[in-house]
């Protein structure tokens, strides 16, 4: 603080110099500098003084006096923050004297820099010069192997670290490339030169080795990153779409690609750990009843119509649950297939859960509270509404139009925000719309339940028609096809913002799909219970048949009878395979319906509009049919629900994931083509915003919901007695117990038994609750502290406002008391800085405070500044809004040109 007082004393003399300095040129930012220097040259009196004050402030922290290491340290740091490192690096350049100067920069500095500008470097130079022999001697002494004094070593280490940090953060500095390059090379050279000096004796070699490895590691990481980006598929396709349709449509395709990646992993898991071992090492087809087509189906087993329904040979293949044998180990590897099957089933869910949560977390990182967005509606519209990805003029035109409408709308809203005549109508319409939609949902649920019940009757009858066999799938697909447009029509009543509307629409379609799926599941579950009830009798029949076969008379007793052909053995209905087949069919029919819809609705419509336009009485392209828009919500939800079916079905049909991978692959190409060929950009182009996380949230919900039925069947239904890897067991999870008992040492079994003890699980759950409670209270107290800090800033603002009003009344001439006030302000600033530095005050919070302060003290400012429009807005130098925090935002360009805004008084 004594610094500041000193500097303030200097201030009076430093006025002229400071003015010159504020307009002094620096490398890299010519424009801002030029204009500001012009302005300041014109300006006399207050602004010049202000510039001086500010420069004083900068120097207060920034100019290190020679000889005191602590000061130098802080000075350096402050300096970096305040001056964007330019002077510092320059000073280093000059003092270290081992680098050719950047010609342009140095030229300008020498010619254009006024006195004051030179003073600072010179000061620094002095200090550095004092330091330089020391440091070079350090290096030499280090190389000589002598021990260094701790302090010196620490200083070098610190500087090396600083340089390294500079190298790491260089890319986020707003400098032109040429400057960045020279800075980088300099820093690298410095690091290389002094790095060796660190560490002593034997440690030195180790240190060098470590540094070498670190460098290699960085290089490897970079290469790996390059490789990874090269591996991302469809980048160009998506980019194309992005530039034509804006980011919202592209977000669907990015989501699709992500989904494809996830499914690829799942496919790898299932295929590598279950299907391949079974095919390679398991018993071949036809060896046992469960792997053989029954005699009655044998004739038709290869017919296409049968295969299309996943019956016949496909049903008795490794694609379905029933094919797997309950042998504990298979092959010479003694691979425990049932165990692997169970674990893969669990890990499919585990992996999906993990990956979804991880991507959600990474999406939310760096996000700020959404509640804040209400405060800045206009500014957001202004500054962030353009989608820079748009590269298509048609889309750009749409975007212009939509921005204009949104501007106009918000202006009108602002003007009429007090009028509430329409609100009742809107409310009524919204309630009506919701009512209608709920009716639709109930209707569709009932329809599906009805159809599934009917199909169960059909399944008991013989020779049913194709329609009757596929009624469920057809009805579900039709509902999925027609309900969303219906909802959209109804939603037009509500008159939401498109982004909000999209969310509502998504939510409704979600409810529809979910209802349908669960109705379907319930009906299926009925079916399963029926089959389970029949199982006992079938089991008896099987035993009886086998018994009869071996003990029947009329066979030569001396020759052992050949075993009964597996195709002839009567067997149960194997409900697991039946469930798997249902999901398989649903997936395939869903895919086909999607593709056919795209072809018929989008493509044919586009063809019709395009070619019939020549001979039609009205303009088809602009008029009624027009081209279709890409239906983001429907497609996203279709994808999500498809994935839900995959998750549910993959336990009973391991091949389902493979089919899904194919489906995603084809739909990537097909939909890309369809979008580019037959869709038009949205009329109201809006950005994807965070909808990605919204998708992820839906996906997580669906994952959870699809986990429920699978977990239910695993935990509480007995597996079929004659098919699947768990046959003969009471419950599917018994395979775990079996493995623990037979394959692990006994103490492990005991540990597991102990872990599964409720006495341990309940305390664990309690502990989790306690942790949640604790974290919750911590976050609450932090937010309270945040609010407190905000309040402090607010108070500070008010003080500042009062100063402003004083200044406003005062004449343009500077009076005696200004230094005092500014010093007071400086002290206050110091205080606030100390308050805001604790870890809880992150940058965003600091920003918060800044926002909150003036926002709430607006009224004060209005009253105190009656004619603030034309009065010189003279901020006390101490409370420059950006001086207290956000070091990365302050940089020479800004600090040079920021002053030019303060206009001279008349």
């Amino acid at each position: 603080m004594s610094h500041q007082v000193n500097d303030l004393k200097e201030e009076a003399q430093g006025r002229v110099k400071g003015r010159a300095r504020s307009g002094s040129p620096r490398t890299g930012d010519r424009l801002g500098r030029r204009s500001s220097s012009k302005q300041t040259l014109k300006a006399e009196g207050t602004p010049g003084r202000r510039g001086a004050q500010r420069s004083q402030k900068e120097r207060a922290g920034g100019s290190p006096s020679p000889g005191s290491p602590r000061r130098k340290q802080t000075g350096r740091r402050r300096h970096r923050e305040e001056l964007g490192e330019q002077e510092r690096s320059k000073a280093e350049r000059t003092c270290e004297g081992r680098r050719k100067r950047d010609e342009r920069a140095s030229f300008k500095e020498h010619t254009a820099a006024p006195k004051k500008e030179k003073e600072i470097p010179r000061k620094e130079e002095k200090s550095k010069r004092q330091k330089k022999p020391r440091s070079s001697s350090l290096a030499s002494s280090a190389s000589g192997g002598e021990s260094l004094s701790e302090e010196k070593l620490a200083r070098i280490l610190e500087r090396v670290e600083e340089k390294k940090q500079l190298i790491a953060t260089m890319r986020s500095k707003p400098w032109p490339m040429a400057k960045k390059l020279t800075e980088l090379r300099e820093a690298q050279e410095f690091v290389e030169k002094y790095e060796g000096a660190l560490g002593k004796g034997k440690g030195k070699r180790l240190y060098a080795y470590k540094m070498l490895m670190a460098k290699k590691w960085v290089k490897f990481k970079r290469d790996f990153d390059n490789f990874k980006t090269q591996c991302i598929p469809w980048e160009m396709k998506i980019k194309d779409i992005e530039s034509h349709f804006g980011s919202s449509v592209a977000s669907y395709f990015i989501f699709l690609r992500w989904m494809y990646g996830v499914n690829l992993v799942l496919f790898g898991l299932i295929f590598g750990l279950v299907i391949i071992p079974e095919v390679l090492m398991g018993m071949p087809y036809g060896s046992i009843p469960r792997k053989t087509v029954p005699r009655a189906e044998e004739e038709k087993a290869m017919d296409f119509s049968v295969l299309w329904d996943f019956e016949g040979y496909i049903k008795y293949s490794a694609l379905f649950y029933g094919y797997y044998n309950n042998q504990r180990t298979i092959g010479w590897l003694r691979y425990r297939l049932p165990m692997a099957y169970f674990m893969v089933g669990v890990s499919v869910f585990g992996y999906s859960l993990m990956i979804i949560i991880r991507s959600m977390a990474s999406n939310t990182q760096g996000s700020t509270g959404e509640g804040e967005s209400d405060n800045f509606t206009f500014s957001f519209k202004m500054f962030t509404s353009w989608d820079y990805l748009i590269g298509n003029s048609e889309t750009a035109d749409n975007k212009y139009a939509s921005i204009t409408t949104s501007f106009k709308e918000s202006i009108v809203d602002e003007q009429e925000s007090n009028k509430e005549e329409n609100i009742h109508l809107t409310r009524f319409l919204r309630v009506l719309a919701n009512f209608l939609i709920i009716c639709c949902l109930c209707g569709s649920g009932y329809l599906i339940y009805f159809v599934v019940k009917r199909s169960q009757q059909f399944s008991k009858m013989q020779n049913v028609s194709w329609y009757e066999r596929n009624e469920v799938e057809i009805v579900m697909s039709l509902l999925g096809m027609f309900c969303p447009p219906l909802f959209e029509t109804i939603a037009a009543l509500e008159n939401y913002h498109p982004r909000t509307g999209l969310k509502w629409q998504l939510g409704r379609i979600f409810a529809l799909f979910l209802g349908n799926l669960y109705t379907f599941l319930l009906a299926l579950m009925d079916d399963v219970h029926l089959k389970l009830a029949n199982e006992e009798t079938i089991k008896n029949i099987t035993h009886w048949t086998l018994f009869n076969y071996y003990n029947s008379s009329g066979w030569n007793e001396s020759v052992p009878r050949p075993p009964l052909h597996p195709a002839d053995v009567p067997r149960g209905s194997c409900w697991e395979t039946a469930v798997g087949i249902e999901f398989m069919r649903l997936t395939v029919s869903d895919m086909l319906v999607t593709y056919i819809t795209i072809l018929l609705v989008d493509f044919l419509r586009a063809c019709f509009v395009r070619f019939m336009n020549y001979c039609w009485c009205w303009d088809l392209e602009a008029g009624f049919p027009s081209y279709a828009e890409f239906d983001i919500s429907g497609n996203v939800l279709g994808l999500i629900f498809n994935q839900g079916m995959i998750w549910m079905g993959s336990f009973y049909a391991p091949g389902l994931v493979g089919i899904n991978v194919l489906r995603l692959l084809t739909s990537m190409y097909f939909q890309c083509w369809a979008v580019m060929s037959s869709n038009v950009p949205h009329e109201r182009v809006f950005k994807a915003s965070r909808s990605n996380n919204f998708y992820m949230g839906l996906l997580l919900l669906v994952l959870f919901l699809s986990l429920l039925p699978v977990a239910y069947t695993i935990m509480s239904l007995p597996p079929s007695f004659d098919c699947g890897p768990f046959s003969g067991k009471n419950r599917m999870y018994d395979v775990l117990q079996e493995t623990i008992e037979n394959d692990f040492p006994t103490f492990l079994g005991k540990i597991f038994a102990f872990l599964a003890n409720p006495g341990l699980i309940i305390p664990a759950i309690l502990l989790m609750f306690l942790a949640i409670y604790y974290l919750n209270s911590v976050s609450k107290s932090l937010s309270r502290a945040n609010a407190q800090l905000r309040k402090k800033i607010q108070v500070l603002r008010e003080v500042e406002k009062s100063h402003k009003s004083v200044k406003g009344k005062a004449t343009a001439r500077d009076s005696e008391d200004t230094p005092k006030s500014s010093s007071k302000n400086a002290i206050q600033l110091q205080l606030t800085k100390e308050e805001t530095t604790p870890p809880s005050a992150s940058k965003s919070q600091a920003m918060d405070k800044k926002a909150q302060g003036p926002r709430t003290s607006n009224s004060a400012s209005r009253t105190t500044l009656p004619a603030s429009g034309h009065l010189p807005i003279s901020r006390p130098p101490g409370i420059r809004p950006d001086s207290g925090h956000a070091p990365s935002q302050t940089h020479p360009w800004r600090s040079a040109s920021g002053k030019s805004a303060q206009r001279p008084p008349r």
């Binding site: 424009l31 801002g32 204009s35 190298i167 260089m170 890319r171 707003p174 490339m177 390059l181 980088l184 970079r222 990153d225 980006t229 090269q230 992005e242 530039s243 980011s247 760096g366 700020t368 959404e370 804040e372 800045f376 206009f378 500014s379 957001f380 202004m382 500054f383 962030t384 353009w386 989608d387 820079y388 990805l389 748009i390 590269g391 003029s393 889309t395 750009a396 035109d397 212009y400 921005i403 204009t404 501007f407 918000s410 202006i411 915003s689 965070r690 920003m847 800044k850 926002a851 603030s868 429009g869 807005i873 809004p881 950006d882 935002q889 800004r894 040109s897 920021g898 030019s900 805004a901």
Partner: protein, 230 residues
């Protein structure tokens, strides 16, 4: 690709990767986009003695990695081999950059080029400037640097603050050239008043960088839309 990769010296490439948010592929791609047409340009100038080389960026726009562009680039290199490094410093005029498909539809394209240009006359971009541009607009760039450059782009008169003049020009950019989409004077005034009301924290009638960054940091979708992919 490998051929040109080795021509752009490895150290330089590594440094570029250190200094930008771009990957190796993106840097090489931008070499094609900026440099190849440029070299072709030079060639044509040399042949015909024509002063203004036709901007050829369109040739490569649909697929910058097309074999044609690649071959051209490599054909040209032997003569220019010595000067690849120096040709990186060469200036590409604005028209050529502006005709890139990525920028064609952008209402701020002139501003973007101006902000990133380091040539004295501010009418052309060097290769490094172009890399800067792409780096700022890349997916991985930090919101801070993005908002910093956004501010400079919006600051039409380069005076370091957004005043009413800047804002109205910004609105005009956003609403397009068409007569029907323009805002009327009163609407404009209302709009700018509202914006200043929201964002001008210190009430000096203009928005400075920190105020701007403060607003932008709240925006949920600034970082996702402020990007250009080559």
């Amino acid at each position: 690709m490998g051929g040109s990769g080795s021509r752009l010296s490895k150290e330089l490439l590594a440094e570029y990767q250190d200094l930008t948010f771009l990957t190796k592929q993106e840097i090489l791609l931008s070499v094609y986009v900026v440099l190849a047409p440029h070299l072709v340009d030079n060639e044509q100038q040399a042949r015909s003695g024509n002063e203004h080389g036709r901007p050829i960026a369109e040739n490569t726009d649909s697929s910058p990695l097309s074999t044609r562009a690649h071959r051209r680039f490599c054909e040209l290199l032997p003569q220019e081999q010595r000067s690849v490094e120096s040709s990186l410093q060469a200036q590409v005029p604005f028209e050529q950059i502006l005709s890139l498909p990525e920028l064609k539809a952008n209402p701020f394209k002139e501003r973007i080029c101006r902000v990133f240009s380091t040539s004295p006359a501010r009418d052309s971009l060097s290769f490094e400037d172009f890399l800067d541009l792409l780096s700022v607009f890349s997916d991985t760039a930090t919101p801070d640097i993005k908002s910093h450059y956004a501010f400079r782009i919006f600051d039409f008169d380069d005076d370091g603050t957004l005043n009413r003049e800047d804002l109205s020009r910004l609105v005009n950019c956003l609403t397009g050239e068409g007569e029907d989409t323009r805002l009327s004077a009163s609407e404009m005034k209302q709009l700018i008043d509202n914006i200043l009301e929201e964002s001008d924290i210190d009430r000096d009638g203009t928005i400075n960088l920190s105020e701007f960054q403060h607003v932008i940091s709240r925006s949920p979708d600034f970082a996702s839309s402020f990007k250009i992919v080559l």
